[in-house]
Symmetry: C2
Subunit: 252 residues, 2 copies
């Protein structure tokens, strides 16, 4: 399954952070005490964590809110503490292209950060989320000061890019059925790690993720439902025939 030759993201393992606190309103007092840090932060000392702490502030977004707008200057790095976010671009009035869904415990905009001083992608909340703003100069400073931290960020950026690029490339040589299969498997394997979930997207957004038209997406989903490959009601989906779905994904 070439499509899912995904590299484990260390920040998505339990080795890297403790489980979420039950109280999501919980405002931590200091980065020192934060137990949902990014895995790269493991190499930071207490003074360095304090440095981040002094330049950060927390914030909350509601479902549908735009967190970063493409073209805006990058003055902050945003760390996603909880919730799902979509990363996307739209070239002037053209159709929207969704790059990926970002899960909690990731930085937003890292890939744009070192290119120039502008955000190249937009980010919107798919559900209510909490984030941490970190001053960009502090971030730069840390990377230059602590080589190991830079190395970890480099690993993170590289994997992210490789995964996205890989997905995109595979996609581009597939037809609609294969693409829709990919999308379902993407949600199942990468995002929710479950056979049954609610798609956090409209049909249009789903189509934008895999680069097909809304109508085609609908048609293929209906077909998958009729054929018993998935059980689909509105946005709720359950995979009933995983092997077949994987084969469709593979064969295009």
């Amino acid at each position: 399954m070439d499509f899912f030759r995904i590299f484990a993201h260390r920040n998505h393992t339990l080795l890297c952070h403790l489980p979420m606190l039950p109280d999501s309103e919980h405002q931590i007092l200091s980065c020192r005490d934060c137990n949902i840090r990014h895995c790269a932060a493991a190499v930071l000392g207490v003074e360095e964590l304090d440095l981040i702490n002094n330049s950060r502030h927390e914030s909350v977004f509601r479902k549908g809110d735009i967190i970063i707008h493409e073209g805006s200057p990058t003055s902050y790095i945003i760390y996603l503490k909880s919730g799902l976010v979509k990363e996307y671009i739209k070239g002037n009035q053209e159709k929207e292209q969704i790059l990926q869904i970002v899960r909690k415990f990731s930085y937003l905009g890292l890939s744009s950060l070192f290119g120039d001083k502008v955000n190249h992608y937009s980010y919107a909340a798919l559900e209510d989320i909490t984030v941490c703003y970190i001053d960009i100069s502090t971030f730069h400073q840390l990377i230059k000061k602590n080589g190991s931290f830079g190395f970890e960020i480099l690993v993170s950026v590289s994997r992210d890019n490789l995964n996205n690029f890989n997905r995109f490339m595979k996609q581009s040589q597939k037809k609609t059925y294969g693409r829709v299969a990919d999308a379902i498997l993407y949600f199942s394997k990468i995002i929710y790690e479950s056979n049954e979930f609610d798609i956090p997207f409209t049909r249009q957004e789903l189509a934008d993720l895999i680069g097909i038209s809304r109508e085609s997406a609908t048609r293929v989903l209906t077909k998958f439902n009729e054929d018993g490959i998935v059980d689909l009601h509105e946005r709720h989906i359950r995979i009933d025939n995983l092997p077949l779905l994987q084969q469709i994904s593979k064969n295009g």
Copy 2:
């Protein structure tokens, strides 16, 4: 021109390195004396350069040679001292997908380097080239030891990724005419920085770069030639109507 919102690559400016020596056979004695270093190397001290020097060796490839094969373990970083290289993948026996053309003064395989221990892309020489092998552990060591070097590498990787991803994305929402126009402009603006050049590709490779069939590529090129947009003979091409070509690129 969204397609060409490319970030200047510092290692491609004269500020960053001196012009090539006239004698391309010239074997330098030490990294210290190398005047075609990657721009990131500017932040390295003499001991650090010596560290690289002790683990490196130079080599030459002939046109058509494969430099790195996808799937091979990454034990070296390869620095391209002169010549052009194509970066590509082919999923088993499927059609080849060319990611980009790499110019001299770039590292090969950087983006794969931090993901895992395998090369994800293949590299083949488009002309006779010279390279420098650098031991990967030395490279890792340097990044961790010298934060500024890591930062520069991070910048380099980020820009490269952003450019490729951007190009790829724009492409995916264009039709054949727009794609061929993109390819011509890519060679003209990015690779050769000239209105007139020899395409270092077969028609098939050109098609693989922009994700269309060979026949379509041929047909579009012929059409461009007939319409006086370009002057084309075999692999030699001269752009005669740049504005129109840009418009075709933009409108898809």
